[in-house]
């Protein structure tokens, strides 16, 4: 069967990607030619992101494109919007941060956009190679963004670390992809799905799966592939760290959903999923246990992120419409609360080479009331307390886990989140109950942009927490469409 390489409507299908690609280039050029107008970069970047989000639900019709390698559906739209939301929040927090650090540069915003394009490809790719391609586009952007603080040693260290380990991870993923191709004669998820439906798993596939999961586990910061995360988050410019801790994970998860769905006929017969369960349990335990001893906020959030990926992996143990919807809802929630938390940290005025310790935010809740309130809401949400989005999303995760029969893993998840409450509350303790030490009052900067971003995060967390039904409905429907094919 010969299919035309470019189906009609392909331009509309990738309109958001095109807008981001071209917009990023124009922004970089604009900065090169008009170096004085650095203040305009963030608003322009914001407009480009909003334009991309606007085209998402305006022009796009669902379907597969580019010879069945690229799929547009409701779920990709949800994930696209999550990436765009993460990007926008990062831009909003970056404005003041970059200005303060003297790093304002068109390339920075361009890299955020191109990274978003990479993630969109991962979410939409129906072919493992497209996923890998998207992942590489994303990774290269991250290497540069993490090292954007080029005069600061920790930033350089972080970039190099992520580069070296990321290269390894990509190698694993490519090797795994090759082995998958060797076993199933295709890298297309749909073709692989048909192959799995009529064939049994072979040891070769086990090796391929382990290799793939090692690579994706690295991108997800899933224990035991997590050790890069604290160092990289600590060194990266703080808004980038927030973005990095959320968006690439979401993209990797949706790619994994497609992979697991394709393999679903053989999964009951092999115990690959118990490996995933082990990774999830390990992540929850390691992430939460180590986060307790962290004094640096960014490192603490890194370990908390490891635990949160563990929670999300609980839902991935059985790929059903509910579990996919739970993961989609959780990533949106996670984007709001984690970027919000990193955002408040990014507002602290201090030498970026030094750790951002808990002492830095002592008494912030009464000094800068809205920042304190926002960070407290993010912490409550991260620890899964009602009435925040973090609670209802975690509830969704555990609900699907119990309905899929993973009660033990859910129990471990619950126990792990009891532990997590301690270190999230410690942040609230420093915010409101601790007086700053003499001569150690860290000021917080601020701008309209940062205030706007924090407002989006807080309002989003509360709205999803109080009235989650529409989002659940949308995510549930989208997941059903995804899994029917």
């Amino acid at each position: 069967m010969i299919t035309p390489l470019l189906e009609p409507g392909w331009v509309n299908a990738i309109l958001p990607e095109l807008i981001l690609c071209v917009g990023g280039m124009l922004l970089a050029l604009f900065d090169a030619f008009v170096p004085r107008a650095k203040g305009a970069l963030a608003p322009l970047a914001l407009i480009i992101f909003i334009a991309a989000a606007w085209t998402e639900n305006l022009f796009i019709q669902g379907g597969t494109f580019f010879g069945g390698t690229y799929e547009i559906s409701a779920i990709t739209m949800i994930f696209d919007l999550t990436f765009l939301l993460a990007g926008m929040l990062a831009v909003l927090f970056s404005r003041e941060y970059l200005d303060r650090q003297g790093l304002e540069d068109g390339a920075y915003y361009a890299l955020l956009m191109w990274g978003t394009v990479g993630m969109m490809m991962m979410a939409k790719g129906l072919d493992l190679l497209i996923v890998v391609l998207g992942l590489e586009i994303l990774s290269i952007c991250i290497f540069v963004l993490v090292g954007f603080h080029r005069r600061i040693p920790v930033s350089n260290e972080a970039s190099l670390k992520y580069f070296l380990m990321g290269a390894f991870a990509t190698g694993f993923i490519l090797y795994g992809t090759a082995l998958f191709y060797g076993a199933t004669a295709s890298t297309n998820f749909n073709v692989m799905g048909r192959w799995f439906a009529s064939n049994a798993a072979t040891p070769l596939l086990t090796v391929a799966f382990v290799l793939l999961m090692s690579g994706f586990g690295f991108k997800l910061a899933l224990a035991p592939f997590h050790p890069w995360a604290p160092d990289v988050y600590q060194g990266a410019p703080t808004p980038v760290a927030g973005w990095l801790s959320v968006a690439p994970k979401a993209a990797t998860l949706i790619a994994l959903v497609r992979l697991f769905d394709a393999m679903s006929p053989v999964l009951p017969k092999v115990n690959w999923m118990s490996m995933i369960a082990a990774l999830a349990i390990l992540s929850m335990i390691v992430g939460n246990a180590v986060a307790i001893v962290q004094r640096d906020l960014k490192r603490m959030l890194a370990y908390s992120g490891i635990a949160h990926v563990g929670y999300m992996m609980i839902a991935m143990l059985t790929v059903r419409d509910d579990s996919v919807a739970a993961v989609a809802v959780y990533t949106i929630t996670y984007a709001l609360m984690n970027i919000g938390a990193f955002g408040v940290v990014s507002l602290l005025v201090k030498n970026e080479n030094d750790p951002h310790t808990l002492e830095d935010i002592a008494g912030l809740g009464f000094r800068r009331k809205f920042y304190g309130f926002a960070l407290a809401i993010c912490m409550f949400s991260l620890s899964g307390l009602p009435p925040t989005a973090g609670f209802i999303s975690k509830f969704y995760i555990f609900k699907t886990a119990i309905e899929s029969g993973h009660t033990t893993v859910a129990l471990i998840g619950i126990l792990a989140s009891i532990v997590s409450v301690y270190y999230y509350l410690r942040v609230v303790y420093y915010l409101y109950m601790k007086e700053p030490a003499e001569g150690h009052v860290v000021q917080a900067g601020g701008s309209v942009f940062a205030l706007g971003a924090l407002t989006i995060a807080v309002v989003g967390i509360l709205i999803i927490g109080i009235y989650p039904s529409p989002l659940f409905q949308a995510a549930g429907n989208a997941a059903r469409v995804l899994l029917q094919q």
Binding site: L385, I414, I418, R426, S469
Partner: protein, 536 residues
């Protein structure tokens, strides 16, 4: 206008508006809190006007779909079990603002907001007829309390706040898992997703799962009560909490635990309840005696009152797991009593602490002469807590003990010693602090209780007397619901041991109350019972 929603959201709405007040408007902030919490109380009184004494189920029911795909509703309702607890909550909150009017100096705005949010959360937990809604309010009340202890508390407040939070959250998260499992089983059996509490009552569970769920729920509530040996967070929290925090914590929040037993544990797991009632009764009796003995040796007044809470709440749990109508009615009444009398005690300890900045018994002595009005109120509160006939504490403890004697005579005998111990340690407290010579010169010139504090404590005293003299006002409204609970327990468990409904205990009260025979329509043929017992 839906009355339950009004009562529920009014404090929160007031708190949100208050957030925009300028922080320097000190009296306006306190006045705003006092005004709206009083308004909430007045609105909540409308519950009594529209109350149907004969109805056992939920009244004033409201239900709207909230997360329809999971069968989760925004469902509110109030029945005989919760009516007085809701009123207790709306009653106590304005008194806190009143009592703390002069002493509240640090961040008054955040303080008032915290208490208003807490009021909404507590009312919500009592009113919710949906499990998830209940759970959300159950946890929501932790956050403001954490802040209240942590920001306005004493020297060791951080430790106390974190301990309070971690203890409670550990229990409630396990309960969340149990709720999910239960709802899933129910969905499995009925085909309809639902989190409505009454829908889940009939869920069939295999014994092992039922036992695990029973313990998951019981753990959450036992920590909250707190039941021995899970009580260790309570003295710390109470000692460090500011006066208002202690009043709400003891007055209302602890009742979430006992209420949870009544609403969830008993009707959801009747067989397991019967099976493990012995354990719960044993723990509650240990708590009664242990709490009393530890209270006896406390050098700190507030700690003494805190441990007396452990002891008194032990009575409530004993009454619940004695599983008969009298004891459960007594238990509910005792929850209200404890809110009033311990609330008053914490308030008065706060009053004296404000003046002398010490709570050690050894620093006082003979202040009955310098603070005569204060002493009168304190002694009334103590006598109410001790269980002097004519005051509220007596009625509650009497009903609990007389009910428990039917089903658990040994436990009731031991528990009765708790009453005596309470008399010892509380009267000992009174004697040390108020009577005898003035040993400390600083105690000579303490100003007596102020107008706002009198205004806060007088309503409490009024109700102590009212419940003590006419308990029927309160009992008759809860009776149908309790009877219904006991009978569903009975049919649910198909128990071999019949639930003993008592007639003697109630008729005693009827006689004491000298009102014409209260309709004692219990589910047991009365001929054998001794109706003349009431004539003494």
């Amino acid at each position: 206008m839906p009355i339950l929603s009004t009562i529920l959201w009014l404090p929160l709405a007031a708190a949100i508006v208050l957030a925009f007040f300028p922080r320097t408007a000190d009296s306006a902030i306190k006045g705003w809190g006092l005004f709206w919490s009083t308004a909430t109380f007045i609105v909540s009184l409308a519950l009594l006007r529209g109350w149907d004494d004969a109805q056992a189920g939920f009244q004033f029911v409201e239900s709207h779909p909230w997360i329809p795909q999971w069968g989760i509703n925004y469902g509110l309702g109030v029945d005989g079990i919760t009516l007085w607890l809701v009123l207790l909550t709306t009653f106590l909150t304005p008194l806190i603002f009143l009592a703390g009017w002069n002493s509240l100096k640090k961040h008054p705005k955040e303080y008032v907001i915290s208490f208003l949010v807490m009021e909404t959360a507590m009312i919500g937990a009592f009113l919710a007829t949906d499990m998830l809604l209940f759970y959300i309010f159950f946890e929501l009340m932790l956050l403001p309390m954490y802040l209240v202890i942590g920001v306005w508390g004493g020297a060791n407040r951080i430790y106390a706040a974190i301990k309070f939070f971690l203890f409670t959250i550990a229990g409630s998260l396990l309960m969340l898992l149990a709720i999910l499992y239960l709802a899933f089983q129910s969905y499995h059996q009925t085909g309809l997703p639902s989190f409505t509490i009454t829908d889940l009552y009939g869920t069939m569970l295999d014994p092992r799962a039922a036992m695990l769920l029973f313990f998951a729920f019981s753990l959450a509530f036992a920590i909250k009560v707190p039941l021995f040996p899970l009580h260790t967070w309570l003295p710390d929290a109470h000692v460090e909490a500011p006066t208002g925090g202690s009043i709400i914590l003891a007055g209302v929040m602890l009742k979430m635990g006992t209420y949870g037993f009544l609403r969830f544990v008993l009707p959801l797991f009747p067989e397991q309840t019967e099976k493990w009632a012995g354990l719960m009764i044993t723990l509650s009796v240990i708590g009664i005696i242990y709490g009393a003995l530890v209270a006896w040796v406390q050098p700190d007044m507030k700690k003494l009152v805190a441990y007396s809470s452990v002891s008194h709440l032990g009575f409530c749990v004993l009454g619940i797991f004695a599983l008969n109508q009298t004891s459960i009615e007594g238990s509910i009444l005792q929850m209200v009593n404890h809110g009033l009398s311990t609330g008053a005690l914490f308030m008065l300890v706060g009053v004296i602490y404000e003046r002398r900045h010490t709570r050690l018994l050894a620093d006082y002595g003979g202040i009955g002469r310098t603070m005569p009005v204060f002493t009168v109120f304190f002694v009334i509160a103590v006598l109410s807590s001790v269980g002097l006939p004519g005051l509220n504490g007596f009625i509650g403890e009497f009903l609990i003990l007389s009910g428990s004697f039917k089903t658990a005579p040994v436990a009731a005998t031991f528990a009765a010693s708790g009453v005596i111990l309470a008399a010892i340690y509380l009267l000992w407290l009174v004697q040390k602090v108020f009577f005898g010579p003035i040993t400390n010169e600083e105690n000579r010139n303490i100003p007596d209780i102020a107008w706002n504090e009198i205004a806060a404590v007088v309503p409490l005293v009024v109700f102590m007397v009212w419940i003590g003299v006419r308990p029927n006002t309160f009992l008759k409204k809860m009776e149908p619901s309790v009877k219904h609970l006991v009978s569903t327990m009975q049919t649910g468990a198909e128990s071999r041991t019949p639930v003993v409904a008592d007639v003697a205990g109630s008729s005693l009260l009827v006689a004491r109350d000298s009102s014409p025979a209260r309709p004692v329509t219990t589910n047991q043929p009365p001929p054998t019972s001794n109706r003349t017992g009431g004539a003494q």
